[in-house]
Chain length 169, copies 2
């Protein structure tokens, strides 16, 4: 089971980016996103996608994220442009354990670097935590998202032109 911990979410400023973080987490193989700040509007948006397109992704809150990190029973991966290269570290990460992926907003406390099992960079350049999460999950799950069937009542049928959606139930 993969959990994404989104640190430092500010509802006014970060709503759209954190929504993208949540939808990417859901689509690329995580089971839940934990926010340190309550944002029911955001949670509703992310859950509405699951309600239509399937899966059982959840959004939860935990103010005491330090405790979540230090008591987590599994591997803690912090995505940061300062970390070890993804291609070099991904093969060393154990597969049989649960994973907590920490994705920060702009400033991340030193605590996170110190208490993560792995600090991992997806390119040592500034870009996007949304992209970093997608590529990390892609590599870690070996592209499992390409074959995932979420079993939702809405299903998009791949198409060279236009939009094809199947709706059931």
């Amino acid at each position: 089971m993969i959990t994404v911990l989104r640190l430092g979410h500010r509802p006014a400023r970060d709503k759209r980016i954190t929504t993208h973080v949540g939808l990417v987490a859901r689509c690329f193989g995580a089971s839940r996103m934990v926010l340190t700040t309550r944002d029911d509007d955001l949670a509703a948006r992310v859950l509405a996608v699951g309600e239509r397109f399937g899966g059982d992704f959840s959004v939860e809150y935990e103010k005491n994220w330090k405790k979540l990190m230090t008591t987590f029973d599994g591997v803690v991966v912090h995505l940061t442009m300062y970390g070890e290269k993804l291609g070099e570290v991904v093969g060393r990460i154990p597969r049989e354990k649960d994973m907590l992926i920490v994705v920060g907003a702009e400033k991340v406390p030193g605590f996170v670097y110190e208490h993560s099992t792995y600090n991992v960079s997806v390119g040592n350049q500034p870009h996007s935590e949304v992209a970093a999460l997608a590529l990390f999950l892609d590599r870690y799950t070996e592209g499992a998202w390409e074959k995932n069937e979420m079993g939702g009542r809405m299903k998009i049928i791949p198409s060279a032109r236009g939009k094809r959606v199947e709706t059931t139930g």
Copy 2:
């Protein structure tokens, strides 16, 4: 040469997402981003990263995006969750031609589906144009970003803990 056309950018609403689109474009192998709406503040943010971290990524404006699409000398790829599966289409895309990648905001006109060489989906699920762009470029360039050296005056040294930055000039 790869150009990213960001359709429908609204400066008030989309600034952060479009900034992420621009930084991902830069980091994963595109040379420029074209916006249909002027946003000098956004352009300055994206260019400031290039100024420090290297490369020669540019941000340009073109109101007449339909003309840009229809007169583009190369392959036009539209990223959409309704498109053909990335894994099935990426091998058919010619490598020797320039590429225009169209990344929409929420509603994309039918014109874009009709006038793209390929409509490509990165997972047939709603998630993020930022993640879709990163994964498309990753697959199309066969992970070239992992070896890219941008030659900037600031360079991050991958590190298991903490932050290491080399600054020159």
